[in-house]
């Protein structure tokens, strides 16, 4: 067991997999000698060799396409897209190819690639270093979508993703790489290493895909969140006296519907929180599902707290970010209904 921040946990997951499986290799822009702009692959090239962890040309579509080809050969590529905002050039290869390959070839070929990418705002990245495009992938049958919220899950989920035979979009909430974020940007962040319960095994373990985690049990309202927003939601709850149940989805596709419905059947109320723009965000699907599955248990409208339907503005990062105040407002509103 060790204290790790999320970067170290992700690095450890890759290190473990490079060691265990010669078919695992890692590549992406600046991930080789340099170790990645967020340093997630630091030291891996030195330890495992030039061919196991290397740089690529700046062509996201080429990165994904070659990973699909490698998957067809029998490798298990782990690729990094430097920021989630830069996935779009690779969208065709992901949607038309990686996602469809198993189906269209009747299982003859498949794409066991893992695409790691930092996402989300809160680091003054402006509109092209802050986006949360997860809903653009949950709509695509054939892709899995995973978003961890802490070092233990990050490592365990990443190992699961790498070992998974389907293509996995692995979104890393960059705002919490170093420590959980309450949403109060004016307060200091406590690094992950300082948390007594932050124990990450050094070896191999998995956190299964498709299983949510109840981060705080409660009876009055269910809050559905993932990534950074899990911590913002927890902070918001702590500032109220509402007995909220906070669920960390961890995997958006496939979704752990049972944990969600059980919670809502208990609480009768639901607030969905994400950083992505609201319209057609993943919260829409969650809202629809909750409504379909728990209609007769609902005592108040399901509310969505999300990024505004605008690009992520550089100067107004904190006015844009769906912080604790907006979550608390929503909780209050749902309790009053």
């Amino acid at each position: 067991m060790a204290k790790m921040n999320m970067i170290q946990a992700l690095n450890s997951a890759m290190d473990v997999m490079l060691t265990r499986d010669p078919n695992v290799l890692i590549y992406g822009e600046d991930v080789g000698f340099f170790g990645g702009v967020f340093r997630a692959t630091e030291g891996l090239q030195k330890k495992h060799g030039l061919h196991r962890c290397f740089d690529t040309p700046i062509g996201e579509s080429g990165i994904v396409a070659t990973a699909i080809g490698m998957g067809a050969y029998g490798l298990r590529p782990v690729i990094e897209i430097q920021f989630a905002d830069y996935i779009y050039p690779a969208y065709d290869q992901l949607v038309s190819e990686a996602a469809r390959l198993r189906y269209r070839s009747a299982g003859d070929f498949f794409a066991p690639l893992t695409l790691r990418t930092p996402y989300g705002g809160g680091i003054r990245g402006g509109q092209t270093h802050s986006q949360s495009p997860e809903a653009l992938f949950t709509h695509v049958a054939g892709l899995k979508t995973v978003i961890p919220s802490n070092p233990y899950d990050a490592k365990g989920l990443l190992i699961s993703a790498i070992e998974d035979d389907d293509p996995v979009m692995f979104f890393e909430p960059k705002r919490i790489y170093n420590g959980p974020f309450s949403g109060h940007h004016d307060q200091p962040v406590t690094p992950w290493e300082k948390f007594a319960d932050n124990d990450v095994p050094e070896g191999h373990y998995t956190v299964p895909l498709g299983k949510a985690a109840i981060k705080r049990p409660g009876n009055n309202v269910t809050i559905l969140a993932y990534g950074t927003m899990v911590h913002v939601a927890l902070a918001a709850v702590a500032e109220t006296d509402i007995d909220a149940e906070v669920i960390d989805l961890r995997t958006l596709m496939p979704l752990d519907i049972d944990t969600i419905t059980q919670s809502i059947e208990k609480t009768g109320r639901c607030v969905i929180v994400h950083e992505a723009t609201r319209t057609s965000g993943y919260g829409a699907e969650l809202s629809a599902l909750v409504q379909e599955n728990c209609f007769y248990h609902l005592e108040a409208p399901i509310l969505r707290v999300a990024g505004w339907d605008t690009p992520y503005p550089h100067a107004f990062e904190w006015q844009y970010f769906p912080g604790p105040k907006r979550i608390i407002d929503a909780m209050r509103r749902t309790m009053e209904s």
């Binding site: 396409a65 067809a72 590529p77 038309s96 269209r104 070929f109």
Partner: protein, 417 residues
């Protein structure tokens, strides 16, 4: 906002060039611009030649067979008789298969079909020049690869019919074959994607210290997709053991190859700009295609990296069963194509070698037709599109993921299957 030019400056007005083919319906075909240089004239460099140094080859046309069926020059692969006859047979089977399936579509037995008529030499000669273990990432006009590798015609047909024996379970449009066993990657409806995927496969093979190489095919029109650029860039950077083939059949549906920039520079020339040899070959010349492929394969196998081959050929028929080429090009262009027909030309070669005759050819044609008909009969015994014999509806929900998630399971239940 825009001031017109004469108001402002003493300069010529700009104008936009929209490339146009030289002939349209009603015009006489005119291929006077086509290079029909003397067979045997282009030298054959060593496989370790540096791209830049042989850059001019991208503008020449490698040919072996002349109009009388005689082979000459340094690119003559000097194939043994058996190989020549096998090549001829495979091309003829391909054509016969295409004709039957085209007809089957016209008869309403399936929704769609695409022929490769006039381009058979590309897939067949290349399959012969590659090893059986090498991996192919084709476009939809290389059905010849499967035929040359002995994939059962019946299975191909069952795919076209989306019937109960369709290896792809009715999921794909006709002709979008897939066979890992035969080293034939699942064909995509999205143009170009296979080109850069093939580079990834080749990188993987090199990564593992394997000795298998990859080959991939793209149409002239499709070279405009980004995947083409990514393939060339990644292949050059990692020196991937891959053969990148551009099948320049002059047309992309209704757009002539100039619309993809084929008139400004040859497609082979693109390769040189990325640092890999770009060779241009008479795509209707079985021997030339074979030889050039062998050269590229030897290069790849010697860790010398990728080669771009432009196959200069002509799409003799419509784009697909959904297309009528008479709406956009002269009716009889195919006949006027100066590089001829690949089957005719190999036949002539064998006759010139005194190993073949028109009679033998005719009877082989008949024999093949019987073979194809028999296969068709068997395939149709397993059903045709929309008939009674379909894969189980249940399979519609399978293989989206390795394991079926709850939401798809629920949908299957909703469907009642």
């Amino acid at each position: 906002m825009t001031k017109s030019a004469p108001d402002r400056k003493n300069r010529v007005a700009l104008s936009l060039r929209i490339p146009e083919p030289r002939q349209r319906p009603g015009d006489l075909p005119d291929f006077s611009g086509v290079d029909v240089s003397k067979p045997g004239a282009v030298p054959r460099p060593g496989i370790n030649a540096v791209a830049k140094d042989i850059g001019d080859m991208a503008y020449k046309l490698i040919r072996v067979l002349d109009n009388d069926g005689k082979a000459s020059g340094p690119w003559d692969p000097k194939l043994d008789l058996e190989s020549l006859q096998r090549g001829l047979r495979h091309m003829m089977v391909t054509r016969s298969y295409d004709n039957r399936m085209y007809l089957a579509q016209r008869q309403g037995k399936t929704s769609f079909y695409m022929k490769c008529t006039g381009e058979e030499a590309v897939a067949i000669a290349q399959a012969a020049a590659l090893e059986r273990e090498d991996m192919c990432f084709p476009s939809y006009r290389q059905q010849g690869l499967l035929i040359a590798r002995g994939y059962p015609l019946v299975d191909m047909m069952c795919q076209v019919y989306s019937n109960e024996r369709d290896p792809l379970k009715g999921r794909q449009l006709p002709i979008m074959y897939s066979s890992r066993e035969f080293g034939f990657f699942s064909i995509s409806g999205n143009l170009g994607t296979q080109f850069s995927q093939a580079v990834g496969w080749a990188m993987a093979s090199a990564y593992k210290g394997d000795d298998r190489i990859a080959a991939t095919w793209i149409g002239d029109g499709s070279t405009a997709e980004g995947d083409f650029h990514h393939a060339l860039t990644f292949a050059a950077v990692y020196r991937a053991p891959v053969i990148l083939n551009v099948v320049n059949n002059q047309w992309a549906i209704s757009s002539f190859q100039g619309m993809a920039g084929g008139d400004d520079a040859t497609f082979a020339a693109r390769g040189v700009g990325y640092g890999m040899p770009g060779l241009r070959v008479d795509g209707n010349d079985f021997l030339a295609v074979y030889a050039v492929t062998k050269w590229a394969a030897d290069r790849a196998r010697s860790n010398l990296g990728p080669t771009l081959i432009e196959h200069y050929t002509y799409r003799a028929e419509g784009h697909s069963t959904s297309d009528d080429p008479n709406l956009y090009r002269p009716a009889n262009e195919a006949k006027a194509w100066p590089l001829g027909d690949p089957i005719e030309r190999l036949k002539q070669h064998l006759i010139a070698l005194d190993k073949w005759s028109e009679d033998k050819h005719t009877s082989l044609e008949k024999e093949i037709l019987e073979e194809v008909r028999a296969a068709q009969k068997e395939a149709e015994s397993h059903g045709t599109l929309g008939g009674d014999k379909m894969p189980s509806v249940k399979t519609m929900f399978e293989d989206v993921y390795k394991e079926m998630p709850w939401h798809i399971r629920r949908q299957r239940q909703e469907m009642g299957v």
